[in-house]
């Protein structure tokens, strides 16, 4: 499969049914929270709470209502690994990825004991099947396919929404502005933060070189302080001996 594949999630047609979550767990045989004996989160209908090692799909529910209910909407979004175009694809089990992921997608699956996340149902893709979540989505909010085609469709959908007066609609992650491109991108109607997405995510690994350089510089300065003081000590030592 030479063409890059990915997800396009159109949040405007998501009905929050969580079929994606269940289909994902069923196909990938992921365990349920505390054996199914979960607790109510009190945050709208979201009792999954987050993406982690056992939740590779997570439907977010965002309630936005005025006090007088004149204006109100209930946004829903099926979140998933963003499948960054420039992500490292080797795993040696060091778990650094958990902290390194700019979207907080990865965590430990307590059953396998390893860090896990969405694989795009790699095993299904190998035999030409759509990932379980996209297959289960009743309203086609989750679309899976070649990225170029998805992007074309997504832009068409944004244009349609704008035409109908929903001018707030825009795409998140469809171009290279976010981390050089996401292979899972979204159609949103509000700021990314409202959906729990970072407005301007950065790879924390970008800090590696400058942080190391600054540390080296710091070490030099500490060393310098030490050397200068050493000189002083020697002089003091000589003086001290004289005084004895």
């Amino acid at each position: 499969m030479a063409e890059p594949m990915g997800f396009f999630t159109d949040t405007t047609v998501c009905i929050g049914c969580k079929a994606c979550e269940v289909a994902c767990k069923e196909w990938n045989q992921l365990p349920s929270t505390n054996g199914g004996a979960n607790t109510l989160s009190g945050q709208s209908y979201d009792n999954t709470r987050q993406l982690d090692g056992i939740h590779w799909r997570h439907v977010r529910f965002i309630e936005q209502f005025d006090a007088d209910r004149h204006d109100g909407r209930w946004l829903m979004m099926s979140d998933v690994c963003k499948h960054c175009a420039h992500a490292s694809d080797a795993c040696n089990g060091c778990r650094d990825c958990i902290g390194a992921c700019p979207f907080g997608v990865i965590d430990i699956n307590p059953v396998s004991g390893t860090a896990q996340k969405c694989t795009l149902c790699y095993d299904r893709m190998q035999v030409g099947l759509t990932p379980a979540c996209a297959k289960a989505c009743p309203t086609e909010s989750i679309k899976f396919g070649p990225l170029e085609e998805l992007r074309r469709k997504a832009r068409g959908r944004v244009a349609q929404l704008h035409e109908r007066g929903h001018t707030a609609a825009y795409l998140y992650g469809d171009d290279e502005k976010i981390l050089g491109g996401l292979n899972s991108f979204y159609l949103l109607e509000d700021k990314p933060e409202v959906y729990g997405l970072p407005a301007d995510p950065k790879m924390p690994s970008r800090n590696l070189f400058p942080a190391s350089m600054f540390s080296g510089l710091g070490a030099l300065m500490v060393g310098l302080v030490g050397l200068l003081s050493f000189r002083q000590r020697r002089m003091d030592a000589v003086a001290g001996r004289d005084n004895v």
């Binding site: 907080g104 942080a211 510089l217 500490v222 030490g226 003091d236 001290g240």
Partner: protein, 201 residues
């Protein structure tokens, strides 16, 4: 990214060699030959390499945090240098406390105090640069954690010990240990604030 693990392991090895060497210096019969690990060319090599690894380790944790996707941690490249400088000043303070117990010469004590003073000034500068480099993220510290940072680290951990040594308000033999203790407390609070305020950001 296994450099850290290697460095940590090597540092441990060098520290162990130094420890064994120190046993040789302790004067116990039969252990004297071990002294070669502390003295002479071999001793110098071990000390210098171990020291360099120590520097690496001191900065490593900060750099590791900086490449972890959490608010504050990954928002600045200065965490490593901050931890390193702070580690140096704490080490000096710790040596002062240990030295006092062992009764080291006064000139050694004043030398350590002086070096610690410079390091604290350096730490203060790095801390200011660190906060500035966070940009808008630093707004997290407009709450309790920020207050703790100012009071616990800047005031208690840096300014107060400096003032104590400068003015010598306390009876002579109390000044050095009190100031050193405050530095240790400040260093601890610095780490607490940075680790935990990321959680609440």
């Amino acid at each position: 990214m296994s450099v850290g693990s290697w460095a940590l392991a090597l540092f441990g090895a060098f520290a162990f060699l130094s420890f064994v060497g120190a046993l040789g210096e302790s004067g116990r019969p039969g252990l004297a030959p071990l002294v070669v690990l502390r003295r002479g060319v071999l001793g110098e090599v071990i000390t210098v390499l171990g020291g360099l690894l120590g520097f690496f380790l001191a900065g490593y944790t900060g750099v590791l945090l900086a490449v972890t996707n959490r608010p504050i941690w990954s928002d600045t490249p200065l965490l490593g240098v901050l931890f390193l400088v702070s580690a140096a000043s704490i080490s000096a303070a710790a040596l002062i406390l240990l030295g006092l117990r062992r009764g080291i010469p006064a000139y050694s004590l004043s030398w350590l105090e002086r070096i610690d003073g410079w390091l604290m000034l350096l730490e203060l500068l790095v801390l200011i640069a660190f906060v500035v480099s966070l940009g808008p993220v630093a707004r997290v510290w407009l709450r309790a954690w920020g207050a703790l940072l100012v009071v616990g680290v800047v005031f208690v951990g840096i300014l107060l010990p400096l003032a104590l040594r400068w003015r010598r308000w306390l009876p002579g033999r109390l000044t050095a240990p009190t100031a050193a203790l405050l530095v240790l407390v400040g260093g601890f609070i610095l780490r607490v604030v940075i680790v935990l305020s990321s959680e609440s950001a």
